[in-house]
């Protein structure tokens, strides 16, 4: 057999990471909740399924949106996926660094790959989100 790099795109060899301190959605987004604000990005599973991410297009800064409304789009080389606001709130800040380095979403989905910071309108909506264990179960880990 020839050598194949066991790098992070290779499904067979890769151990996905789902931090315990985050909340997760069925649309493969994560939230780090800090009081009435949250930071939002896409999960390790999502970035791996998408492959090389080449464009993150978010033009909803300052907008108040309902839960599950589209707040932006993430594009991989071959695919386009909508980004859904996990809970109702207002998009307060967009990660502008992703304009120049969209690959940060692949390399560091929970860190440099964050996408927006938002306010949370209704804390009760948080209860509808998954914890890491439930999310792992949903994706069949």
């Amino acid at each position: 057999m020839f050598p194949v790099k066991n790098d992070y795109f290779s499904r067979k060899f890769y151990n996905m990471n789902f931090p315990e301190n985050l909340k997760y959605t069925k649309d493969h987004e994560w939230l780090q909740i800090d009081g009435d604000t949250a930071t939002v990005g896409i999960t390790d599973f999502a970035q791996r399924e998408l492959g090389d991410i080449v464009f993150v297009d978010i033009d909803t800064e300052g907008k108040a949106l309902g839960a599950n409304e589209i707040f932006g789009t993430v594009e991989a080389v071959k695919t386009v996926s909508d980004l859904f606001l996990p809970v109702s709130g207002t998009v307060k800040e967009v990660n502008r660094d992703l304009e120049g380095t969209p690959e940060a979403v692949n390399q560091d989905p929970y860190g440099k790959g964050w996408m927006i910071k938002m306010t949370i309108d209704n804390q009760a909506e948080i209860d509808g989100l998954m914890d890491a264990a439930a999310y792992r179960q949903m994706i069949g880990e």
Partner: protein, 362 residues
Amino acid sequence: MKNTPFTDKHIALGAKMAEFAGYNMPISYTGINDEHATVRKNAGVFDVSHMGEFILKGPDALDLIQRVTSNDASKLNAPGKAQYSCLPNEQGGIVDDLLVYAIEPNNVYMLVVNASNIEKDWNWISKHNTKGVEMHNISDKTGLLAVQGPKAVEYMQELTDMDITNLKYYTFVKGKFAGVENVVVSATGYTGAGGVEIYFEDQDGAGEKIWEEVFRVGGPKGMKPIGLGARDTLRLEMGFCLYGNDIDDTTSPLEAGLGWITKFTKDFTSKEIFEAQKVNGVSRKLVGFEMVDKGIPRHHYKIQNNAGEEIGFVTSGTQSPSLNKAIGMGYVRKDLATEGSEINIMIRDKAVKAKVVKMPFE
């Protein structure tokens, strides 16, 4: 879903798999950008065994090919010559694009067609086979690896005594390769990176043997398996048409920039339609464009002019891994089909600026 001779290998190697034209195919291994760069700089191996192969045999084989294809197959006047061509339909559209290989000129030809069109093409050619040409659909038993990239030929030469180092583009040899007999090694491909395509009959473990040998010589030098994702970005950078995207039953070869494979030196389906298009011009043309403002064009996005009128649509688009910019192909009204024309791609209801450029993209 059908398997190729290599499906198990792809899965064992951890490829991301998906159905394509009814086959379980590898979409990517290490990531499209990495695979793309490997082919442009070194060499990569594509399993394209899903492609269809027909053998046409007999004294009237050339006559049949001439009548159903647009290019002039009589130019394949020596064994070992191949050509790109298309099968026009009766409305001046395209049934499929294909390669025609002269195994024995005037007697035996191999046609290589798109996987998604095997049945359609077979029926189409059969319908025109009025003079009893012997036809064989060898698609299921034929394996095909495309070994592509600037180093591909150098690596593959180690596996055969046939001279493939000096094979000219669109020629081929047939013989022993990697210990397997009757292998066709063809200087063709869909990447613009150079290399060969290797056709073999998948029997007695031939596929296994060829795969192992190909990677035995290339693997240590950095050659890698490549998925269909990178195949698409590679061909798009070259401006090569993809059937179902850039050409289909409703597009004329002249609109698609395939006038060079439409030869009026012989009779063939829709010849009169194409002759009239050549004389009178076509109303739309397939062009390449690059994005001026930020955005990635995708298949089916609409194209507008600066006045906001719809003047065409995108047929293929991607972020180009080699050029690091967004590129695409699409049909546009002929007055905007010239290099430098400003057009707008409608991305999520926003008009995003682009300009028409020549292909291959650079």
